[in-house]
């Protein structure tokens, strides 16, 4: 239903802080609330990993293949080497989130950088950068990160980097389109006529206005990075020195038929994280995006 936003705003928050307004709008949607709660739980796991499980989660502390619920000391059971799955899940939350967030950051930096430069300058720079983007879009991204990890050898750094470096083209296009829209806005034209530097205009005037779609993309990027990491681990390209959910799934895949829980429990953790991030992303999208609000 179309009615002026000013009406709703004046009706809604009389002078309340905009950030809280955003949070309130998020909380109003049950799905976003779900995502927020899930995400909080996962963050709590990451924070509580050390206090709750101070020992190395890779230690073989139990009998192998202890099924969940059979031993109170190991509520989620143990894997084929007798490592505590619960400890792995808690410690894995840290690594998986780290991989997801850092990979997303890498994508964000490249994607925003290329998108902003391309959209702002246009012309040859745009053409060149867009060719580069197309190039990266044409190579199957997962296959590409697979190749990078295989070549540089799997470690948490190469995995993160490889995922990040292949995931940015979509974002670059998005940012470019948004920047293009703003490029000729009055604000930007005015700044140019006032002699502001390009960097200043991009950083101060353009990017803040593109923030909404970027924030939404970021949550999805984190989610898909976590998924990609698990896929790499499934193909045997995980880092055996740290516990990540993807690595745990990869380790459990051989016994998925006999001891399904070894791969399934970390699988569910991944699912929960990806779900949470997507719900949050959807919620943010609705809350930040005026169009979404009109429903």
């Amino acid at each position: 239903m179309a009615f002026p936003d000013s009406l709703i705003l004046s009706a809604d928050g009389t002078g309340s802080h905009p950030r809280f307004a955003l949070l309130r709008r998020l909380l109003r949607r049950p799905s976003a609330l779900c995502g927020l709660v899930l995400m909080a739980a996962i963050l709590a796991m990451a924070v509580l990993a050390h206090p709750l499980y101070p020992d190395d989660p890779l230690d073989m502390v139990a009998a192998p293949f202890l099924h969940p619920g059979t031993d109170a000391a190991f509520p989620l059971g143990s894997d084929m080497l007798g490592r505590d799955l619960a400890a792995g899940i808690f410690h894995g939350a840290r690594i998986s989130l780290l991989i997801g967030v850092v990979a997303a950051l890498v994508s964000l930096v490249i994607g925003i950088g290329i998108g902003a430069l391309s959209g702002y300058y246009g012309g040859r720079i745009d053409a060149g950068l867009m060719r580069l983007t197309e190039l990266f879009q044409t190579i199957p991204p997962f296959l590409f990160s697979l190749a990078i990890v295989a070549i540089l050898q799997p470690s948490i750094a190469t995995i993160t980097g490889a995922i990040g470096i292949t995931a940015w083209p979509g974002l670059a296009r998005l940012v470019r389109a948004e920047v293009l829209k703003l490029r000729h806005s009055e604000l930007v034209e005015a700044s140019i006529s006032l002699g502001a530097s390009d960097a200043r205009i991009i950083l101060l005037h353009i990017l803040p206005n593109v923030l909404a779609p970027i924030v939404v993309s970021a949550s999805i990027l984190v989610a898909s990075a976590i998924l990609s990491e698990s896929s790499l681990a499934f193909l045997g390209l995980g880092d055996p020195n740290v516990v990540s959910w993807g690595g745990m799934v990869g380790a459990g895949r051989e016994v998925i038929r006999t001891d399904w829980y070894v791969a399934t429990i970390p699988g569910i953790a991944i699912l929960a994280a990806v779900l949470a991030l997507n719900l949050l992303g959807d919620g943010l999208n609705d809350a930040l995006n005026r169009k979404g609000q009109r429903r």
Binding site: M80, G82, P154, P240, A251, R253, E254, R257, T258
Partner: protein, 537 residues
């Protein structure tokens, strides 16, 4: 659980042993039935189907059905007649005469003669065959007095050759198809023409290799199977599912996850067999890079050996499919195995004491020193072994960083760049230490960057001397003595820690009979196998 029960382990293995023995007498009287298609797991997909230039297991498993050898090996690893009906060894050990079978034809109809053997020896065994080159080095002349006699003249006695004369160990190629061509690049490497019980039909990449019954096979009445279908199934869980469901009736070489085997041993329609791997005698070992600043100390290497509970490793990581190895010459190679070598029982206290003695005391954070570990990227079992070792060494204050990589990178790192500290690998010992064992210790390999040779960087003049002497020793007893001395030295100095004598296994359908009838079965022909009752097909 680390205090474990050796009892459990023994009980488990003897139970499986019992069950293996129990099936033979019952079936021995049955008369083989002809017909049926046997589906076999082939993992991974072979590179080529020619056994001449690739020693990889999938190639050999397929090629063993297409190519017959001069001999095959029985369960005692004694050579038995195949294409050679008999052979004579001269007293000085320098002349060997093979009498060939009459009436054998290549799959394209051409007769098989002594010229094929002579050509193969000169152009393959002595030149491009990666393993045989050293063994046949001393062949000075090959004579073919007639179509069915081959005489080998040696400059020095070369007894080890009698351990590699089967179809894949010393492959005989059809001279008329290969002569004068680029052997490595020949199209027949991918559509092989042999003399064996099965004829190559089709190789669909990524899917299957299909062999059909050779109707003109010299061993009349055999083979019993109409076709063998080698299927390529990359995912281990899928392989297990296919075997369980009966889509696959034969899965050699640990093709299904070890964990599934336990369960499969309870299933009525599936049987597990550990025989047929005797010829290759696989051994899992840990190379110490003796040039490393810590590992160059013998005491450190011994300490690490004491820190690793190989019983637990066999039981947990390898699900009982393997037993602790005390020597690089496996106990199965009984003639040469020395059971009196120094042993390194699991004893963390002793390990810590040795490290203290060596001057590597625990630091403030409990760590003595940090090293890396590269494991052979052949599957989860190896990775888990590496993880097991990491945790074991962590307990004595040695921090290990595991490095993963693919095969190419692994080989380059270990044998090329020598940029490693610990390295986990396996190799085949074969019935004669000369073939599979000594390569890991002979300093002559150093600097050649040759894979699967001396990984540790070990150099010992006496060991080198023993190895070279045994190679040309005509007296079998003297060879045994050489190898026993060799074992004593390398197990004291410990450049390489033997971990496990691996026990490979095959899984097959219960109604598939005589799937294992030779000591080199898994690299040889399935001509004796048959389906009982309602055969598939």
């Amino acid at each position: 659980m680390r205090t474990l029960s050796r009892r459990h382990f023994l009980a488990a293995s003897s139970a499986i042993a019992l069950f293996i023995r129990s099936d033979k007498p019952v079936w021995a009287e049955d008369k083989p039935q002809a017909g049926g298609t046997l589906s076999v797991i082939l993992q991974p997909e072979p590179v080529t189907l020619s056994p001449t230039n690739n020693m990889a297991q999938p190639t050999q498993t397929v090629a063993g059905n297409i190519f017959d050898g001069l001999v095959y090996y029985d369960f005692d690893l004694k050579p038995q007649p195949c294409l050679a009906t008999s052979w004579d060894l001269a007293r000085d050990g320098k002349t060997v005469t093979f009498h060939l079978r009459h009436g054998v034809k290549w799959h394209d109809g051409k007769p098989f003669t002594s010229a094929d053997v002579k050509w193969s020896l000169e152009n393959i065994w002595k030149t491009i065959h990666p393993r045989n080159k050293a063994l046949f080095e001393n062949v000075s002349a090959v004579e073919t007095p007639d179509d069915f006699t081959v005489v080998l003249k040696f400059s020095k006695p070369s007894l080890p050759i009698f351990s590699v004369l089967n179809g894949v160990g010393a492959p005989i190629l059809p001279r008329h198809l290969y002569e004068g061509t680029d052997i490595l690049g020949s199209p027949y490497n991918n559509k092989p023409v042999g003399t064996g019980a099965f004829v190559f039909k089709e190789w669909k990449r990524g899917e299957y290799v299909l062999l059909e019954r050779n109707p003109d096979y010299w061993d009349s009445g055999k083979p019993y199977l109409d076709r063998i279908l080698f299927r390529i199934i990359p995912d281990p869980a899928a392989r297990a599912a296919a075997v369980e469901k009966g889509e696959i009736q034969y899965a050699p070489f640990n093709a299904i996850p070890l964990r599934d085997v336990e369960r499969f041993s309870q299933l009525p329609n599936v049987k597990i067999d550990r025989r047929g791997y005797d010829w290759i005698s696989p051994l899992l070992y840990l190379d110490f890079n003796v040039e490393n600043q810590y590992l160059k100390h013998q005491r450190v290497r011994q300490a690490l050996a004491h820190a690793i509970d190989r019983n637990a490793m066999a039981r947990i990581v390898w699900f009982g499919f393997g037993k602790p190895a005390i020597s690089p010459v496996p106990s199965a190679v009984a003639t040469f195995h020395d059971s009196t070598v120094p042993q390194y029982a699991f004893d963390p206290k002793k390990a810590e004491a040795l490290l203290d003695e060596a001057g590597f005391k625990r630091g403030a954070d409990g760590t003595r020193f940090a090293i890396t570990h590269d494991y052979l990227p052949y599957g989860d079992d190896y990775r888990r072994t590496a993880e097991f070792i990491k945790q074991a060494l962590h307990k004595i204050g040695v921090e290990v960083t595991i490095r993963s990589q693919d095969t190419a990178a692994f080989i380059k790192r270990i044998y090329g760049d020598r940029d490693f500290d610990l390295s986990l690998s396996w190799n085949s010992a074969f019935p004669d230490p000369q073939i599979g064992v000594v390569r890991a210790y002979w300093s002559g390999w150093l600097g050649t960057q040759t894979p699967w040779t001396n990984g540790s960087g070990y150099r010992n003049a006496e060991v080198d001397g023993l190895i070279q002497a045994a190679a040309v020793e005509g007296n079998p007893e003297a060879r045994v003595a050489d190898f026993k001395r060799f074992q004593q030295i390398v197990l004291t100095e410990l450049p390489t820690l033997p971990l496990l004598e691996m026990q490979f296994f095959s899984v097959h359908a219960a109604n598939l009979r005589d799937i294992v009838s030779q000591g080199d079965q898994t690299y040889s022909t399935l001509k004796n196998a048959w389906f009982d009752g309602k055969a598939k097909g």
